[in-house]
């Protein structure tokens, strides 16, 4: 983790900003993946289709 952080380009403040952006993008992507998995496998909402 630490190695990945220090591998980011730029000085420390830029690294911090980039790390926040990367984490945010990962979280948003996970949110959509989880939503898709949940509404497909776990609970579709109960509608008759």
């Amino acid at each position: 983790m630490k190695r990945a952080f220090f591998a980011l380009p730029g000085p420390l403040p830029i690294k911090v900003v980039l790390a926040i952006v990367v984490v945010a993008v990962v979280l948003v992507a996970l949110h959509f993946i989880y939503e898709w998995m949940g509404s497909t496998l776990l609970d579709t909402g109960g509608a008759i289709e």
């Binding site: 996970l30 949110h31 509404s39 579709t44 109960g46």
Partner: protein, 253 residues
């Protein structure tokens, strides 16, 4: 470290074999840890994150539904009951001298519009009410409960169908299986509060459309996933109108 690896290597093999095996085991280990974290995140997301989002949106939608009640146009129209299973029988004769029963009818809400609030006093999470939006697409049901378009609006004659989540997005219908015949379900719309009494429930396949078909009288059909944490089947609860602004007109009291 390197010495011990070299010493454990096969005499005629590469001195790197031990290190490769160790790397592979480490890789499998990290993969399993990653998979575990991914699945843990999935469970947390489904049980808590979706519920948090649904509760936030439900609070906002309840306000919008109240505004909808105040703004939507409600009209009174003559009620002519539909004939069911009467083959070639002639349509009902309307006597102009007899006072015609009238129904209170509201405008059809647009898709995604919050237009009703469902309350079930015997279910804790529904005793305060949960907003119902028009539509049962996955996007519509992110709030928790949705009215199936092309079925009558609550309080109207026919078979009103409302679907809701069982385990995620606030899980408004989580305890639908605890309903027993006689339990009351209230649905508030622009025409007023319509009260239904549960008559029974059934487990069906997700494609059993007969549960949504029109019925004589005024019915409310609630559908949700079954069993809990699976979308394999549907739990369907049937309830009949027992009180409401249109009760007298529909049942000709």
């Amino acid at each position: 470290m390197t010495d011990s690896v070299t010493s454990t290597a096969a005499p005629n093999g590469s001195p790197r074999v031990g290190s490769r095996v160790r790397k592979a085991i480490r890789g499998v280990g990290w993969t399993l840890i990653g998979l575990g974290l991914f699945l843990f995140g999935f469970v947390v997301h489904q049980l808590y994150v979706t519920t948090w989002f649904a509760q936030q949106s439900n609070e906002q939608l309840t306000v919008e539904a109240q505004e909808h009640f105040a703004s939507v146009e409600v009209t009174e129209v003559p009620y002519v009951p539909k004939e069911f299973d009467n083959g070639d029988a002639p349509p009902p004769v309307i006597d102009p001298d007899e006072p015609q029963p009238t129904l209170l009818v509201e405008e059809q809400p647009e898709i995604s519009t919050p237009f009703a609030i469902i309350r079930i006093p015997t279910i804790d999470r529904l005793s305060e009410g949960w907003t119902v939006v028009e539509g049962t697409s996955r996007a519509n049901l992110k709030n928790g409960a949705g009215h199936m378009p092309f079925t009558p609006l609550p309080g109207q004659p026919g078979n009103t169908v409302i679907s809701g989540h069982r385990t995620t997005y606030g899980a408004p219908f989580h305890e639908l299986d605890t309903l027993e015949p006689g339990d009351l379900i209230e649905v508030e719309t622009a025409i007023g509060v319509s009260t239904y009494a549960v008559t029974g429930s059934e487990i069906v396949q997700p494609n059993e459309l007969w549960v949504t078909e029109p019925r004589e009288g005024a019915w409310l059909t609630l559908t949700t996933c079954h069993p809990k944490f699976s979308s394999r089947q549907r739990l369907v609860v049937f309830a009949e109108l027992v009180e409401g602004p249109n009760y007298d007109a529909i049942f000709g009291a």
